[in-house]
Structure formats: structure tokens, C-alpha cells
């Protein structure tokens, strides 16, 4: 064998082995052997952020007496006080625990705070995270960088940006022009608007287990459908119609004024809930949801979800018992 052939053969073997060398090194000196992380303690909780902050601060606060500062890791410190008034335009310290009420004047800035009384945020206040054990009021055009939560009611005035999550153990009242990603309230109510007109009485009855439609389907106004509906195209539920089951559509799903769905609403495309309509179950869509004026989702004493993989738009005087998720953002329609 000539030296040239031997050289070529050697190069060929080297080229073949080259891709395996990093793997052989990893095999000999393992650096990445752990299983992919699975959070086996995770339970979906819309108020997770506030709970996590309270759990994090509670042990520190329990041992602290009076007012003062507690150093934490990474140059953080907790400032504990009984009452706090943040002056206009001022910035509150790192982490706040307020044993009673917090009052932030217009243009103030707060990082993260646990308020054990009521909290009032003036116009244009900016906050990163706020957990409030009683009631919370956000003035006009406040900005939430991450989340706000209250154990009781929360009132949000017009033009606020509610960040990643705004949650309330009681009523979450939101004014027009607000934007959000995730909302939780019992219920979530949008402010303004008029009450719906009286519902027309159902007239015709369609009975089956499930009504299937190959293409588009329209349920006549006032009809009573004693079944679920699956439509492979556009689905229109006429004004005043009642469907006693779940409705699903691959095309646009339009529920007209004062119609009622007693099951869930599932849309592979956009969903539009007309004025005064009512959904007893969940609303889930892979695109956008428009919730018209006076619409009600869920019922008192229970919780349901309105989920949109894209946007949610809420009209005035909407009541949603439970959770709203708008993956790409949501807003309350300006009147």
C-alpha cells in the first residue's frame, strides 16, 4: 500500500470518527446526565404569583417586629412598615411589606409589594408585582409589569396595562381601554354598557345526541337544540336560540344576541359572542374571542375559562366567572 493510499485511508477513517468524538468525550466525562426537568409539584393556579410572593416573604415577616429592613440574598432587602404613602413620582424600595394600607400617589413606582390592608394606586403608577390582602384600586393608566392580586375586590380604572396577570379573590372590575394577558375574578366584570333586551322565547326544537354538519350550519333564531353541535365550517347560532350541549366549529363561530349555550364553546377558528348571549361552560378557541356587551360566561359559585390562543376583546358589562387567558393579549373595548 502506497503512503498516499494509507494517508487517504487514515483521513477517511478520521473523517468518519470525527462526529463521534464529542459524544465519546461526554460518555467518558458525563456533564449532562440528568433527566429533563419535569415540575412534579406544579398545580395550575391563576393566583400563583401572589401566593409565591406571600410564601416567600411570610417566614421573614413573621419574625420581624415593628418597622425595619431585612436583608435577603442578592442585595435584596425587605422594608416592613405599618402604613405607607408613596409621594407623587417617588420610587418605593426593593420589596415592601405593608401591614395595613398602601397609598401610592400619581406617577409613583413600586417594585414588589405585599399589602396586608387595602391598596390604592394613583394615576400612572407603575408596579412590578403587588399582592393585596384586602381590596385594590388601580387609578387610570397604571402599568403592571408582571402581576397584581387582591384577596377581595379589585377595581381597575380606564387605560391600565395589567401585565401578565391580574387576579382577585372577589370581583375584578375592569374599565374600558385596559389591556391584559390573564385575568381571574369571581366574577370578572367590565364596566359600562347597558343591560340586554329581553330574550326571545325558543320556538322550534331540534333533538339528537349531536348535530353534525359537514359544512356551515345556522341554527334558526329562537330554536331550541337539545343536543351538541359540531360544524366543519362556519357555525351561526341565531338570536335567542338555546343549545343544550357543547358547540364546536372549525370555521368562525358566531353566537348571536341573547343566545344561550349550556355546554362549552370550542372554536378551531374565531369565536364571537353577541350582545346579551350566555355561555354556561368554557370558551376555548385557537384564534380570537370577541365577547360582546352584557355577555355572561359561567355562573356564580363556580368557575369557567375563556381561552384564546390569540386575542380576547371584552365589551362593556361582561361577566365572566373564572379565568380569562389571552395568549397574545386582550383588551377591554373603549366605549
Amino acid at each position: 500500500m502506497s503512503s498516499q493510499v494509507a494517508l487517504l485511508l487514515g483521513l477517511f477513517v478520521f473523517a468518519m470518527l470525527l462526529p463521534f468524538i464529542p459524544g465519546i468525550r461526554e460518555l467518558r466525562r458525563p456533564r449532562d446526565t440528568l433527566s429533563l426537568p419535569v415540575d412534579n409539584g406544579y398545580i395550575r393556579n391563576p393566583r400563583h404569583f401572589a401566593r409565591a410572593l406571600r410564601n416567600r416573604l411570610a417566614p421573614q415577616v413573621a419574625t420581624a417586629k415593628g418597622e425595619g429592613e431585612i436583608p435577603l440574598r442578592r442585595h435584596e432587602r425587605i422594608t416592613i412598615c405599618d402604613l405607607l404613602v408613596v409621594p407623587p413620582g417617588a420610587t418605593a424600595p426593593d420589596l415592601l411589606v405593608v401591614r395595613h394600607d398602601l397609598d401610592a400617589a400619581a406617577g409613583a413606582s413600586i417594585r414588589e409589594a405585599w399589602v396586608q390592608g387595602d391598596a390604592y394606586m394613583g394615576a400612572g403608577v407603575r408596579m412590578r408585582g403587588l399582592a393585596c390582602d384586602r381590596s385594590l384600586r388601580l387609578g387610570p393608566k397604571c402599568t403592571v409589569d408582571r402581576w397584581v392580586d387582591s384577596e377581595h375586590d379589585t377595581h381597575v380604572e380606564p387605560g391600565c396595562d395589567l401585565g401578565m396577570s391580574a387576579t382577585a379573590g372577589g370581583v375584578l372590575r375592569i374599565s374600558p381601554g385596559c389591556t391584559f394577558r390573564r385575568l381571574w375574578g369571581q366574577p370578572i366584570r367590565t364596566v359600562g354598557g347597558r343591560l340586554s333586551d329581553s330574550e326571545p322565547e325558543p320556538r322550534r326544537t331540534i333533538e339528537n345526541d349531536v348535530v353534525w354538519a359537514r359544512d356551515r350550519l345556522s341554527v334558526p333564531p329562537g330554536a331550541l337544540v337539545d343536543a351538541g353541535i359540531i360544524a366543519y365550517g362556519r357555525l351561526v347560532i341565531g338570536p335567542g336560540a338555546v343549545v343544550r350541549g357543547t358547540v364546536k366549529a372549525y370555521g368562525e363561530l358566531v353566537i348571536h344576541n341573547a343566545a344561550r349555550i349550556e355546554g362549552d364553546v370550542i372554536g378551531r377558528s374565531s369565536v364571537r359572542l353577541g350582545k346579551g348571549s350566555r355561555v354556561d361552560g368554557n370558551v376555548f378557541t385557537e384564534r380570537d374571542v370577541y365577547v360582546g356587551a352584557d355577555v355572561s360566561v359561567g355562573r356564580e359559585g363556580a368557575f369557567k375559562t375563556v381561552f384564546a390562543a390569540r386575542h380576547v376583546t371584552l365589551g362593556p358589562h361582561v361577566s365572566i366567572y373564572g379565568w380569562v387567558v389571552a395568549e397574545l393579549g386582550g383588551r377591554v373595548e373603549a366605549i
Binding site: P19, F20, P22, G23, R25, E26, L27, P30, R31, D32, T33, L34, S35, L36, V38, D39, N40, G41, Y42, I43, R44, P46, V210, G228, I230, G245, T246, K248, D264, I266, G281, N282, F284, E286, A302, F303, K304, T305, F307, A309, G322, W323, V325, E327
Partner: protein, 414 residues
């Protein structure tokens, strides 16, 4: 004869091309654009009652863990029924189940000692014993998180969903070279392949564990075929043939144990291949004619079923090439084309191909473990052999009209 061999080689090359194209499209779609949402974000106070079935055969090493994991579930206790099935165990599994039955009213074990052994038969018995419409199935070595039951159950809010499948993650990823490769393979298979198929509205597969189905639907379809080694694939296909859908929950992750020895892996693959090919023979023609599926879904369904037929096909094409070569009848051009597609297939072929695994590595934030990608070449050769043996089993099952004997994958937990 020569012409027949050449035609055969071209057919196999065409199949390889289809798979290569499929893997490319699926991988790119997973990486680019929004993904179809799953139902886990639905929070609902009106949850249905659910039965969780756990087939067990000599599972004393893991029985406590899965039962404790389910008892710690956040799902409302009064809506949760746990049905572990002791299937002919000769270790202490039965004693463990009796202890849990005495201590927890939710645990209602089944003891099978005098009937046909195997997961399909056990599941059939559980179907009649379970009292709830929604049935979830976990293998005994799985460790579902506290939110897993709720997240899986939410898929059934959709009236078209007949079954749901979560994602499985190897718990013993770092044990051996094999487990490290299987860890990569699972990532590619679930994070990329299953998710993209769900997003593209193709035919994601129910894997028989870490998932569930509607009891009434499974019963109406005849339950689980005791003569089929891949009861999960069989149910998947029958669901699609009857107009139902399978949902995939990528965010519902659950640890499982993967084989640590090549022998155990060989028998596992051989069983899967046997079962898949049985299902292909039973339902392949019906799948192609299904009125409930769009053409692209039929194609995807067939590619799912044919996947365990491809390695023997490839071996046969290589043999044909060899014959043609020895006869001096192999033209240069077809050889180059064949070489190109063989390389393509080696790179993007079956069993969580390179591209899918690489993209899964990016999405899962893997660091050093992706360095094992080139080793898939050897795993691929190994798979060829196991899958071909599985095909032979499936054919012999038909020829000899024999029933498959259930061979459980051994546990390695220490």
C-alpha cells in the same frame, strides 16, 4: 427478474423520499409558527369523575410510587377512582395493592390470576370494572404530577376527542448509553413529532399510557384486542376510523423508565414492530378509505403504520441492489440516487430522526446530550434487526394463527 428488482428498488427509494420529506416538514413546522394549543389552560369547577387504570405485573419496586403520586393528585378526591390491576404477579404486588385498598377508599384494585395475561386483557377487564366515562391509563413505572390528571381530563371537553396522550420523559436518562439515546429519541418523538402532528391536525398517536380515552367509545369499538401486541396503536386507528380525534398534551409531562439493556430494548422494539404490523394488516386498507379523514390525514396515518415495515423494506432493497451489482447490471446513476436517498434516510429516517431530535434539543434546552446524535447510526442498525424480527413475528402470527404472548419490558429501578 432484473426489471422487477429495479422496480422494487425504486419503490423503496420512493418510500424513503416520502418519509424524508415528512420528517423535514414536521420538524420545520414545529420550529416555526404558532403551535396548536392544548386544553390544559381550561380551569373548570365542574370536573368529571375519572378512573385511573394501572396495569401491573410484578411491580413491587414501583407500585408504591405510582399509587402515592395519584393519591397526591390535585384532582378532587371524590371524583377520582384508582384501579390498579394485579396481572398474574408472583412478587409482592398483590400485598401492596391490598394494603392501599384498606387504607384508601379511592383505590379499587383488580386481581387477575386465572385468565389470559397481558396488558390488553387487563385493560379490557378494567374497562368493565371502572365506573367512570373518562379512563386514564398509566404504566406502573410512571410518576404523574399532581396536575396531570386534570390536564389530561380537560381534553374531553372537546366532543370530538376520543383519546388523549401526554408526553413521557425518561427518568433514567443518564443510566447507560442506550438510555441516553432513548432520552433523545423520546424528545424528538414527543416534543417535535407528536406536537407537530397535533398542530397540523394530522393523526397524533395514543401511546397506551400517560393518556386516556372515553370508556363508552373504547367499549363500543370492542375494547382492546388481546391478539394485538400494540393495543394502543390499534385503538388509535380504530378511533380515527370512527371519526374520533386524539389530542396531544405536550405540557403534561410524566416520567417513565426506559430500557437500560440492549436485550430489553430489542424485545420492546420487536413487540412494537409486531403490533404495528398487525394493525397495518388489519386496518391499513380501511384507513386509506376512511370517510372521516382528509387525504393528508390518511397519508399520515399510513406513514405511522408503515414505519415498522420500512426497515425490512430497506433491507430487501439493499439485497436487490447487491444482486443487481453482482450481475453487473447496476447503472451508475441509479446507484448514486440510491446512495443519496440511503444517506437521506439514515439522517432523517425512522425512530426520532436526527433533525427532529436536534430541534427537540433546542426546544428542551438540552446541553451536552445532543452530542450523542451521531450514535443514532448504530441504534438505527440495531433497530433494523429488531423491527425485522417483529415483522417476521407478525407474519408468522397470521400463518400459524397463533396468539402473541405478552412479554413485559423489565424494570431497572434500584
Amino acid at each position: 427478474m432484473d426489471l422487477a428488482l429495479k422496480v422494487w428498488v425504486c419503490v423503496v427509494i420512493s418510500v424513503m423520499m416520502v418519509y424524508a420529506l415528512r420528517h423535514w416538514l414536521i420538524s420545520i413546522r414545529r420550529l416555526v409558527g404558532s403551535q396548536r394549543p392544548y386544553y390544559q389552560d381550561l380551569l373548570d369547577s365542574d370536573l368529571p369523575s375519572v378512573s385511573v387504570v394501572i396495569p401491573m405485573h410484578n411491580e413491587e419496586a414501583v407500585a408504591d410510587q405510582i399509587l402515592n403520586a395519584l393519591l397526591d393528585s390535585a384532582y378532587p378526591k371524590h371524583l377520582l377512582e384508582i384501579v390498579p390491576i394485579d396481572d398474574h404477579s408472583d412478587d409482592h404486588t398483590a400485598e401492596i395493592l391490598r394494603r392501599y385498598e384498606a387504607e384508601h377508599s379511592q383505590v379499587k384494585p383488580l386481581f387477575r390470576n386465572d385468565r389470559v395475561r397481558g396488558k390488553p386483557a387487563a385493560l379490557n377487564e378494567a374497562l368493565t370494572a371502572a365506573t367512570n366515562e373518562i379512563v386514564l391509563v398509566f404504566d406502573a413505572d410512571y410518576r404523574p404530577g399532581p396536575d396531570a390528571v386534570r390536564a389530561l381530563v380537560m381534553a374531553f371537553q372537546d366532543p370530538e376527542v376520543g383519546a388523549v396522550m401526554g408526553r413521557v420523559v425518561p427518568s433514567n436518562a443518564g443510566a447507560t448509553l442506550l438510555t441516553r439515546l432513548l432520552d433523545l429519541e423520546r424528545s424528538g418523538g414527543y416534543q417535535v413529532d407528536q406536537q407537530a402532528r397535533y398542530t397540523l391536525d394530522l393523526v397524533p398517536q395514543f401511546g397506551g399510557t400517560a393518556g386516556g380515552f372515553r370508556r363508552s367509545v373504547a367499549l363500543s369499538l370492542g375494547g382492546f384486542g388481546p391478539r394485538v401486541s400494540a393495543d394502543d396503536t390499534d385503538l388509535t386507528v380504530r378511533l380515527y376510523l370512527n371519526g374520533w380525534k386524539v389530542a396531544y398534551a405536550n405540557g403534561v409531562e410524566c416520567y417513565e423508565e426506559v430500557p437500560e439493556t440492549w436485550d430489553a430494548r430489542f424485545h420492546q422494539l420487536r413487540r412494537w414492530s409486531r403490533g404495528h404490523n398487525q394493525v397495518l394488516l388489519r386496518h391499513g386498507a380501511s384507513l386509506l378509505r376512511s370517510r372521516y379523514l382528509r387525504p393528508i390525514q390518511r397519508l399520515d396515518g399510513m406513514l405511522m403504520l408503515v414505519v415498522y415495515l420500512v426497515p425490512p423494506l430497506l433491507l430487501s432493497a439493499l439485497a436487490a441492489e447487491l444482486v443487481l451489482f453482482l450481475q453487473g447490471d447496476l447503472l451508475l446513476l441509479p446507484t448514486v440516487i440510491l446512495a443519496f436517498f440511503l444517506v437521506t434516510y439514515s439522517e432523517f429516517g425512522n425512530f426520532a430522526p436526527f433533525l427532529q431530535v436536534g430541534i427537540a434539543g433546542v426546544l428542551d434546552g438540552m446541553a451536552e446530550r445532543v452530542l450523542f446524535l451521531p450514535f443514532f447510526f448504530f441504534a438505527y442498525l440495531f433497530n433494523q434487526l429488531a423491527v425485522t424480527c417483529g415483522l417476521a413475528d407478525a407474519v408468522l402470527d397470521i400463518v400459524w394463527r397463533r396468539d402473541p404472548i405478552w412479554r413485559k419490558t423489565p424494570r431497572f429501578r434500584r
